[in-house]
């Protein structure tokens, strides 16, 4: 991961900043320039909520090289409490216990490690919501 590309994504990856259409209220994550629902071009920044429920998931058992330390892991699409659907790794749980409908929380995690000397990338992951 190039550090400049990483840096451009900070607002959404660090702070879950979404774009809320000023005309129709649709929340877009990641933010866009034109609202796909009404065509408006003005948005305000809104933070996504940090909890939701798993809509669907898959389990990655043969992980790309940068994720072998955490394999096997689930990639889930969760519906957050405001209706926005978000895709992220689901960690801190046995992949055999992941279920559609399970409650998840968003945590700040290291999302990618560029070998031994490159940049560390941070962002969001899902973890089971247990409290």
């Amino acid at each position: 991961m190039y550090s400049a590309r990483d840096w451009r994504e900070y607002p959404r990856r660090y702070r879950l900043e979404a774009g809320k259409c000023k005309k129709c209220g649709k929340i877009l994550f990641p933010a866009r320039l034109i609202c796909p629902k009404c065509g408006a071009r003005e948005f305000e920044t809104e933070m996504l909520p940090d909890t939701g429920k798993v809509l669907t998931f898959t389990v990655i058992r043969t992980a790309p090289s940068q994720f072998t330390d955490i394999a096997p892991y689930a990639i889930a699409i969760a519906e957050l409490t405001n209706g926005v659907k978000l895709t992220a790794q689901l960690v801190d749980c046995d992949v055999n216990t992941v279920k559609v409908g399970m409650e998840v929380r968003i945590e700040f995690r290291r999302v990618q490690t560029d070998a031994y000397s490159g940049i560390l990338s941070y962002g969001y992951k899902f973890v089971p919501k247990w409290y």
């Binding site: 900070y10 660090y14 702070r15 330390d69 955490i70 960690v91 801190d92 945590e107 700040f108 995690r109 290291r110 999302v111 490690t113 070998a115 031994y116 560390l120 941070y122 992951k125 247990w130 409290y131």
Partner: protein, 351 residues
């Protein structure tokens, strides 16, 4: 300037644990003697995607929940104390500040002083708020420390973070006073480019931990004119289960005064996070008017002392975020030594 103190506090711990028996088994060591000698049963382990920065962000989110909707843009300083900053060169505080929306009007530095770096961050933030330089200061102590395989430190080196938002209004705990005690004492160190620290064995006890912890505690109590019986609770740096209990009893504190902040038997040593996390679990159960003595210790060596007085606001905020004991005791994931070795990059593999 009027009162200064803690406006919000929070903790974060990884869910993974490894038991003393599991480590002892690998090295042919006698688990019961470690458990009894060091009063350690298990320790927290960070998974590969957790580090000092991620633990700090989550602890800070909990502190913000208790701070009652402060504007993060008004946080004028962020200091993270750790001996395991993920980068050798690149500040941890910058990433944490960015993650909570506190940039760019903010002063930032990463602190280091073995296990004392977290309390230094608290000390400096209190000073800046008191001087009127900043409205809020964010002080974090956190670590994902490593002990060399087979070394006594491997049984204790753990992970966790505590965050405190210091300010002058809406206090949860008022800072009554602070006191620091330091000498050059070569009990524990890590040279540049080395992966694991070295320590001076038994020398880490009397002339190092006990002298500085007790020196700071006595100096702090003298400065405010209080004695052990005047405090509701006391929290000491906890490199293992045994040292803080022994230091506290030497000073004249009872087990009951230390129990709420004594987490090391099942948490391990969270280094820069240790006494700050102990303070969070003590605040979790404290009542308005309670007084708390907190003393950190960092090898090299020094201790920072704090006297806190809990305010009425504690009852409103304690359950706005998860309690530390809940993170310590519930929903744990136990791992074996192989998983631990992988998680902590103790196995050499191709990049």
């Amino acid at each position: 300037m009027g009162k200064v103190g803690i406006v919000g506090y929070g903790c974060h711990l990884p869910r993974h644990r490894i038991k003393v028996e599991e480590i002892a088994k690998v090295w042919g060591a006698d688990a019961p003697s470690y458990k009894k000698g060091l009063m350690l049963r298990e320790k927290s382990v960070p998974p590969p995607d957790c580090d000092t920065i991620t633990l700090s962000v989550e602890a800070t989110k909990n502190a913000l929940r208790r701070a009652g909707g402060i504007n993060t843009a008004e946080i004028g300083a962020i200091y993270i104390g750790s001996e395991s900053h993920p980068y050798a060169v690149k500040p941890s505080g910058a990433t944490v500040a960015e993650a909570i929306g506190a940039t760019p009007d903010i002063h930032c530095a990463d602190f280091e002083f073995a296990c004392k770096a977290g309390s230094e961050a608290m000390f400096v933030c209190l000073g800046l708020v008191k001087a009127g330089e900043i409205k809020y200061g964010l002080a974090i102590g956190g670590d994902t420390s490593q002990g060399a395989p087979g070394d006594a430190l491997e049984y204790s080196a753990a992970a966790g973070a505590a965050a405190f938002i210091m300010g002058s209004e809406n206090l949860i705990a008022e800072s009554i006073d602070t006191y620091s005690f330091m000498t050059d004492t070569p009990d524990f160190w890590r040279r540049e480019y080395e992966f694991y620290p070295q320590h001076a064995g038994r020398y880490t006890g009397e002339p190092a931990y006990f002298k500085h912890t007790c020196g700071a505690a006595e100096g702090m109590m003298k400065k405010v004119g209080m004695k052990p019986a005047d405090f509701t609770y006391a929290v000491f740096h906890q490199p293992n289960g045994k040292f803080p209990m022994r230091a506290g009893k030497m000073l004249g504190f009872t087990q009951e005064q230390m129990e709420p902040g004594w987490l090391s038997p099942t948490l391990g040593n969270t280094y820069s996070g240790a006494s700050p996390i102990g303070l969070t679990s003590t605040l979790d159960i404290a009542k308005p008017g309670d007084t708390i003595l907190m003393v950190s210790y960092g090898s090299g060596s020094g201790s920072d002392g704090f006297v806190w007085k809990v305010t009425d606001r504690i009852d409103e905020v304690r359950d706005k975020a998860v309690r530390t004991r809940k993170l310590l005791d519930e929903n744990l994931i136990y791992i074996d030594y192989g998983t631990y070795a992988k998680f902590r990059h103790k196995i050499k593999k191709n990049a």
